[in-house]
Symmetry: C2
């Protein structure tokens, strides 16, 4: 099995943990799980899993995400490796954290229930298992940095969205309020945020124009600043 090289060196369990972000009614949320196995069964934790023998670490993260949400091809980004000796009280485990951004409406609620997973507001997180709080903290920091520089926010919205939704998303992620007119002025200058002729009538009597993120147009010209 194992190659002739490196035999003298120790081996470790390698796990992945997913920080899964969603956005609902103006709030940024994270999908948390009541841990389904020992040790520490029943505590709040991120959804994780062990990397398999012939599986890329990135693929393991995607697999775990799919197990919990039913979704494939979700936007994921590595947050980093967590490798303190005693970070997991079950055994030595090196874990690689990944953050995922998805449209909360698309997740399979049945699968969530089967895994005892619940959406929690990012501002109201309970204490989490091991170093999972630090993982969330770090991925939120990364999300805040990327949101204004790259058009990742759209991953958290449905395909059609109103400008108010988009603004609330930015406010929830950045944790500060934004001037409506300045925000809309900036959006108007971004060629790949396109106004459609659909109208959303659910959130206001008057109705709000629905917009779309055009990825083709973005690929042509990636210039972006919001």
């Amino acid at each position: 099995m194992s190659s002739q090289f490196y035999q003298e060196y120790p081996k470790f369990h390698v796990a992945v943990d997913c920080i899964i972000f969603g956005f609902e009614r103006g709030h940024l949320k994270v999908l948390l799980q009541k841990r389904p196995f020992e040790p520490h069964a029943g505590e709040w934790s991120l959804m994780g899993g062990f990397v398999r023998q012939d599986e890329d670490v990135d693929d393991a993260a995607a697999r775990v995400l799919t197990e919990l949400t039913g979704l494939k091809d979700v936007y994921m980004k590595q947050v980093g490796a967590f490798g303190s000796v005693h970070r997991d009280s079950g055994d030595r485990v090196v874990s690689v954290a990944y953050s995922a951004l998805l449209d909360i409406a698309r997740v399979d609620k049945e699968l969530n229930r089967e895994h005892s997973a619940y959406w929690e507001d990012i501002t109201l997180l309970p204490p989490l298992l091991f170093d999972h709080t630090e993982m969330v903290r770090q991925s939120l920091r990364m999300l805040r940095e990327s949101i204004s520089k790259r058009p990742v926010g759209f991953q958290l919205l449905p395909p059609l969205f109103t400008l108010t939704q988009l603004q609330m998303l930015y406010e929830a992620i950045l944790g500060e309020s934004i001037d409506k007119r300045n925000f809309r002025k900036r959006v108007a200058e971004i060629p790949f945020i396109e106004k459609t002729d659909e109208i959303d009538k659910l959130t206001s009597r008057r109705g709000a124009a629905l917009y779309r993120f055009n990825n083709r147009a973005y690929q042509r010209d990636k210039h972006f600043k919001l």
Copy 2:
């Protein structure tokens, strides 16, 4: 030995690889090694090593750095985990990359020689082993992002430096030239970059004022933009 939990899951070699940056005569450089063991002995690679049984992954990176340079307490930052199944042809290895910034004058040249390590200009890198080129690429991207937002550049300079040296450092990292007057105007507004009354007479006839990064002052007010 191994705990009762997680026994059924596979284990992997875990390694660290160091992207060690230095700055010399206007050039940003990386410390590369002729790989001293099989497989692929003699190829250009980053300095790396396997994580030990009772060692934090972060500590393993610091140890490897110390082995190669003789330096402790060097600025290091995790770049990320690299976990493709076949990334290392010797065996399955998950590697965590770390970048280090240090004052090239302080490294132990004898240790470098013992490890067949050489400083290479970042713009003139040879092809590297496995995914090491990607590791360098990624850490350079991170360095470019952080250099203008946080005062990390000083880690690459001696304790006293001239403004021309500082500017050349920024130019080497960002890969673009900067207007001298605008650069100095900005530096002048940063309270923790302090002019000393020392003069450097080595690089010019006239002599240039030497400056110092005051970490105390930085801790008091971390506001920074260069």
